[in-house]
Amino acid sequence: MKRWWIRPLVRVVAACLLPVAVPAVITAFIWALPGDPASIICPPELCGGTAELAEAWNLDQGATHFYTTWMGAAMTGDFGNSWRLQPGVPVGELLASSIPWTAALVVLAFVPLLVGAAGAAARIIPRQVDAILQAVGLTPSVVLALCAAAVVTITYGAFAFDDEAMRVKLLLGALCLGLADQALSGAVTGVRGLMEEERKQRYVQIAILRGESVLSNTLPNTLGALAGQMRARLLHLLSGAVIVEVVIRIDGLGDLLWQGTLSQDFGVVLAAAFGFALLSALLLLLQALVEVATALHVRRSPAGVVS
C-alpha cells in the first residue's frame, strides 16, 4: 500500500479538530436552549442583574464571541471560575483535582485488559475462558457500580470520602469498569481474533516452518490494528468512567462533567468536555504514531539484503 500515511494523517487531523469542535458543539447547544444563557446559568431569583453577569461571562455578544473568547483563554490554561457548581473556584483547579482520579481509574481498569489481551495474543489464555468473560461482561457497568456504591455506603457511611474509602472506591470502580460492558472479554476476544487471523497468513506459516517465532512475524503487521483496538478500549473505559464516577461518587472528570451539567455550570461542562476531548485526541495521536512507526518498520529493507 503506497498511501499508508493517509490513515495516520486523518487521525492527526481528527486529533487537532476534536478539542476545538467539542466546545463549539456545546456552545451551540447552550445557545439553542430556550432563554438567554446567563439566566439559565444563574436564574434571576438568585442573581438579579443577569445583564451584568452576561457581560462579565462574555455571554452578551452571541455564541461566536463567547466561543472564541473561551477557546482563547482555554488555550492559555485559563478556564475561568465556576459559576454555579463551586462558585468562584477556578475551573482549572477543579480539572486538576479531577483528572488524576479519572486517570487512576482508567489505568487501573486498563491493566487487566492489557494483561488479557497479551495473554490472548500469546495463546496463554485458553479459548474456553472467553465464554465466562463474555457472560460476566453482559452486566452493565451501572449495575456493578450500584453494587459497589452500596458496599461503600454500608461500610463507610459518612466517611465515604476519606482517603481509605476513596482508595477502595477506586479499586471497586476499576473492577466494575474493567469487567462490565464486555470491556475485558472484548479485549481478549478482539486481540485473539486479530492474531489468529494473522497466523493463517502464508508468510506466518512459512516462518513457522522455518522455526521462527510467530509473534515476531505477526506483531509488526498487526500493531496498527492492535493500537486501534486498544484506543477503542480506552475510549470505552473513559466513557464508562463517567457512569462509574457518578454512581460510586469518585471525584473524577466524569463526575465533574455530570455535576456541572446538573447545576447548569456551562463553564465547568465546557472545560470537562474539553478535557475528555484532549484525552481522546491524545489517544488518536498515539495510534497515529504507532501506525507510522509500524509502517516505517515493515517497509525497512531486511538486514543483509542489498538493494
Binding site: 438568585l46 442573581c47 438579579g48 462558585p87 459518612a158 470520602f161
Partner: protein, 524 residues
C-alpha cells in the same frame, strides 16, 4: 463479593469510624450542600445556616432571651433624626485571614448592597431599607436608612462582608468568596465537591469549643438515621416525622426542636378561569381534609398529643404574634357545603366529575419534590381527596430548579395548584408572597395574586412604627387571606434535629440554627 473481602472492608470501615469519632471533629448531615457561601446569594435554608457559622450578623436575636443583641457592636445610638444608627464596634475582631474588622467593612457591606452592579435579589430588597453608610472612625459606622423604622436594629440582621477581600462594591456570585469565604464567625469554612469543612477560629468575640466540623449532603432519610445510630455522623439537621420514633427510642440520640416557623400551603392559581371565583377556592378549602392528609402523609393520628403538625388558618405559625386566633382552622372536610359553593359558582357535576363551561375540569397539581421526604405521599393524598370529590387531576413533582426558575418567578401558570412550604425567621415578612407583582414587590408571589385590599394591608405593615401597629396590620391580613384563599393554608410542621448525646450545649437558634455555636461541645 467474597466474605473475606467484605470482612476486610467492614474492618476498614470500623477502623475509620473509630478514628474519626474519637477526635474533636464532628460530622453532620444537611438537606443538601450550600449553593453559595456568600449571604448575598443565599437561596436556601442550608445557605442561611452555613452563613451563620462563618460570618457575623451586625444584630441578631438571642436564641434564649429573644433580645436583639450583637457580637460585633459594643453600643449604638440613634442618629440622623431617627433615620440612622451610629454603631460603635468592638475592638480587636479579626477576619479569618488575620485582618482587623473595621467600620469600613460594615459600610462596605451596605454599599455593596446599594451598588446596582451587585446582581443579588437580597441586596435589591435591602435597597428599600438602607440609604448609605459612613465610616466615621475606624470603629464607628453611621448606618443610614431610607426612612424612620420603628425598630431600626431589626433591620441590621445582615452579615458583614470583608472589604479587603472584594475591593469593589459590585459583588458577583462567582467570586471565590462564594466558596471559600472570609468571615468573622466562629468557624472558617471551605466548600468542596462533597461537603463543607469548618475549622475553629478563635476571636475576641467567639471561642468555639469544637475544632472541626464537616457538613455532608444527607440523601435518603433512612440511611441518615441509620448512620447516626451507628455513630457514622453525629447529627442530622432535619429528621422527617416518620423517622423520629427511631431516634427517640435510642439512648444515644436526642431529638431537638428547631424553630423554623415553617408552614405548608396549597397555592391556588386564580388565573385559571374556574379558580378565579372565590367560592371555588373556598369549596376546595372545605374539600381538603387536613386531618386525613396529616395522618396519611406525616403519620399523626387524630387526637395525638404533642403532634409535630399544627393546623393553621393563615400565613403564620400559631406561635407567631401575627397569627390571628379569631380565624378558625378547617381540620375536617365539609363536602356538602363545598358542593353547594361549587354549584353556586356555576360548576356542574356530570357523571360524578365537575365541569366548568361544559368542559371537565382536570387539575394539574405540583409539589416541590424534596418536600416528599418530610411528608411522604402528600401530593398523591391531596390528589386523591380532590379526585374523590369529583375533580380529575394530574400530579407532578417539581424539581428544585424548576421551583426556583418557574414557581417562584410566577411563571408556573400551567399548574392549578402547587403544594409548598415557606420558612421564616423571627421577622415574618409575608409581603413578597402576597403583594401584587410590581416595582420589585411580590417577588415570591407564586400565581401572581393581586388584590388592592391585601396590598393596602401589606403597606400598612410596612409603615408600622410600633409592634402593635404591625400586629394589627397582619391580623387583618390573616383574616382577609383566610377569606380570599390565594393559598389553602395547611399546617405548621415542626422541624426536629437529631444529635448524638456526646454533642452537648447544642442550643439551636430559630431559623439560623448556629447562632449560639460557641456553647456547642463534642466529646468527653
Amino acid at each position: 463479593m467474597k466474605p473475606t473481602t467484605r470482612t476486610l472492608l467492614t474492618a476498614l470501615g470500623l477502623a475509620a469510624t473509630a478514628t474519626f469519632a474519637t477526635g474533636a471533629s464532628l460530622t453532620f448531615y444537611e438537606e443538601s450542600l450550600p449553593s453559595s457561601m456568600n449571604p448575598l446569594f443565599a437561596s436556601s435554608m442550608v445557605d442561611n445556616r452555613v452563613h451563620e457559622l462563618v460570618l457575623d450578623r451586625i444584630y441578631h436575636h438571642d436564641p434564649i432571651t429573644n433580645e436583639l443583641v450583637s457580637d460585633v457592636v459594643e453600643r449604638w445610638e440613634l442618629a440622623d433624626g431617627g433615620k440612622g444608627v451610629r454603631l460603635y464596634l468592638k475592638k480587636g475582631i479579626k477576619w479569618h485571614d488575620g485582618q482587623s474588622m473595621t467600620a469600613e467593612d460594615v459600610c462596605f457591606t451596605i454599599d455593596s448592597m446599594l451598588d446596582e452592579g451587585t446582581p443579588s435579589p437580597i441586596a435589591e430588597k435591602k435597597r428599600a431599607v438602607f440609604a448609605g453608610c459612613d465610616a466615621e472612625k475606624n470603629d464607628v459606622a453611621l448606618v443610614k436608612f431610607v426612612k424612620i423604622f420603628h425598630n431600626p436594629l431589626n433591620r441590621l440582621g445582615i452579615h458583614i462582608l470583608p472589604k479587603h477581600v472584594f475591593g469593589e462594591t459590585a459583588i458577583r456570585p462567582d467570586h471565590q468568596f462564594s466558596n471559600r469565604p472570609v468571615g468573622t464567625g466562629p468557624m472558617k469554612g471551605s466548600m468542596g465537591r462533597r461537603g463543607v469543612v469548618f475549622e475553629k477560629y478563635k476571636n475576641v468575640h467567639h471561642d468555639p469549643q469544637i475544632d472541626q466540623m464537616t457538613l455532608q449532603e444527607g440523601g435518603d432519610p433512612l440511611v441518615q438515621v441509620r448512620t447516626l445510630l451507628n455513630n457514622g455522623v453525629q447529627g442530622i439537621i432535619a429528621v422527617p416525622p416518620p423517622y423520629r420514633a427511631d431516634v427517640s427510642a435510642s439512648d444515644e440520640l436526642t431529638l431537638k426542636s428547631y424553630d423554623l416557623r415553617s408552614w405548608w400551603f396549597v397555592a391556588v392559581n386564580q388565573e385559571k378561569a374556574y379558580l378565579a371565583d372565590k367560592r371555588v377556592r373556598q369549596a376546595l378549602n372545605l374539600i381538603v381534609d387536613r386531618t386525613d392528609l396529616r395522618q396519611l402523609s406525616i403519620g399523626v393520628k387524630p387526637g395525638e398529643q404533642n403532634s409535630p403538625c399544627e393546623f393553621i388558618s393563615g400565613p403564620f405559625v400559631q406561635t407567631s404574634p401575627y397569627y390571628n386566633r379569631s380565624v378558625p382552622t378547617q381540620p375536617r372536610s365539609d363536602k356538602e357545603k363545598a358542593f353547594l359553593l361549587l354549584k353556586e359558582a356555576g360548576l356542574k357535576q356530570v357523571g360524578g366529575r365537575w365541569h366548568y363551561n361544559g368542559q371537565p375540569i382536570t387539575m394539574r397539581i405540583g409539589m416541590k419534590a424534596p418536600l416528599n421526604n418530610e411528608a411522604p405521599d402528600l401530593l398523591s393524598q391531596v390528589g386523591n381527596q380532590l379526585g374523590a370529590a369529583g375533580f380529575d387531576r394530574q400530579e407532578f413533582r417539581i424539581t428544585v430548579d424548576d421551583w426556583n426558575r418557574k414557581v417562584l418567578t410566577g411563571q408556573a401558570t400551567d399548574y392549578d395548584l402547587v403544594v409548598g412550604k415557606w420558612s421564616f425567621g423571627l421577622v415574618e415578612d409575608v409581603n413578597p408572597l402576597f403583594h401584587t407583582r410590581k416595582d420589585n414587590r411580590g417577588a415570591l408571589n407564586i400565581f401572581n395574586y393581586a388584590n388592592p385590599q391585601v396590598d393596602a394591608l401589606l403597606a400598612q405593615f410596612d409603615a408600622a412604627r410600633t409592634d402593635t401597629e404591625a400586629k394589627d396590620a397582619y391580623h387583618k391580613l390573616h383574616e382577609k387571606l383566610a377569606e380570599e384563599l390565594p393559598y389553602l393554608f395547611l399546617w405548621k410542621l415542626d422541624t426536629k434535629s437529631a444529635w448524638r448525646t456526646e454533642v452537648r450545649g447544642n442550643t439551636i437558634s430559630p431559623y439560623f440554627y448556629w447562632t449560639a455555636f460557641d456553647s456547642w461541645k463534642y466529646g468527653s
